[in-house]
Subunit: 225 residues, 2 copies
């Protein structure tokens, strides 16, 4: 399974800290881009969709707090603030304004990594399977595609939601009601049809489903290997 490598933007005017943090992060298998000012960061986020921003609060020019204020409408990316020691008011303001966490300098590398992992987990980026393969079938939720032998099929949002849930809970049976809640749909017969269509895409022999099976009277289950 493909691990998603989070892309992190490190914003700090201090060369030493910037490269140190970059080094830590790279050692921990993150993809890192740096910016040496808020202005620089603004340019970079225009172009790259980061998974996390680590932001120094005190910088010449625009401060970290100003950066957040100016961009919070546009940014969905979580932010970890680096604050100077003993500046509780700024920390609080940062969190109020939209930062997701803060870390007072100086900090232990391990602590930084911990907080990053924590946030990444929260944003659900990492703990979910997005690509799985069994036999000759590959389901790629990121691409919203299924590859079966030499065929490829698009999967729509409804199908994606169902597969997402089932892939991350293999062997668990979902009632039609469960599925209906998931995809915001309360017509039970419609779910039959959706399952039928899904089977055409993921089963070698859709009439004799091996993976997406029916549990009569209960619901459906994804059964992989």
């Amino acid at each position: 399974m493909d691990k998603i490598i989070a892309h992190i933007l490190v914003v700090d005017d201090d060369d030493g800290i910037r490269s140190l943090v970059k080094k830590y992060l790279i050692e921990n298998d993150y993809l890192v881009t740096t910016a040496d000012s808020a202005e620089d960061a603004v340019e970079k986020i225009k172009i790259i969709q980061f998974d996390l921003i680590i932001l120094d609060i005190m910088m010449p020019g625009k401060s970290g707090l100003e950066f957040i204020k100016d961009n919070k409408k546009k940014i969905i990316t979580p932010i970890i603030l680096l604050t100077a020691k003993g500046e509780p008011s700024e920390r609080i303001e940062g969190l109020e304004i939209g930062a997701d966490d803060y870390l007072p300098k100086p900090f232990e590398p391990k602590e930084l990594i911990l907080r990053i992992e924590n946030i990444i987990k929260k944003t659900k980026l990492n703990d979910q399977k997005r690509v799985i393969q069994f036999q000759n079938i590959k389901i790629d939720l990121n691409k919203q595609m299924i590859f079966k032998n030499d065929n490829e099929y698009k999967i729509n949002n409804t199908e994606k939601k169902i597969l997402e849930k089932m892939i991350n809970n293999p062997g668990k049976t979902f009632s039609r009601e469960d599925i209906g809640l998931l995809i915001e749909l309360d017509k039970e017969r419609s779910i039959d049809v959706i399952i039928t269509r899904l089977r055409k895409k993921i089963e070698m022999d859709p009439k004799r489903p091996k993976f997406l099976q029916t549990i009569r009277g209960t619901g459906y289950v994804l059964w992989i290997e």
Copy 2:
């Protein structure tokens, strides 16, 4: 930040200028290859992927302008034109045709280096992609041009912003809202129209988009490889 060692091709029929430029460049830590004619340059670019081409406009045989015309669909590399003094029409034509900058002869070595650095910064640096090529399509954000087979299209600022983002996040789906934030535009229907227009430029068959695809209910994604 690490300095990138750029590989530069110098194309000039004049031995003196060629070796002089080469000397300057080597002193400034560039890697240099020379060609004494457009024909020679054509052979060299077949073999080596340069980071920059410095091209004399006036040469016996094929001229610099002809070289660009003949190769612009294929070449990703930025070009600096060397023009004879006081030939503004040729300069303008050069820029129109696809050069990235020009420098009138005679020039100060320092000025050449400055322009080189400027271009290198714009292109290679930043780990941002500015020029990409796939199949018969080339997108050049610096020149704001798209080359498709024998056609070429200008891209405006809006289109550029969208492509910039997507090129640097290939495979990532952007909602209309994302795109709207990016280009400061909140009319969702307008985005449809903009996408349609973009597809006319970058798709071989705009009615059946292969690259700029719709993820129904979610948004759009650029799919290249």
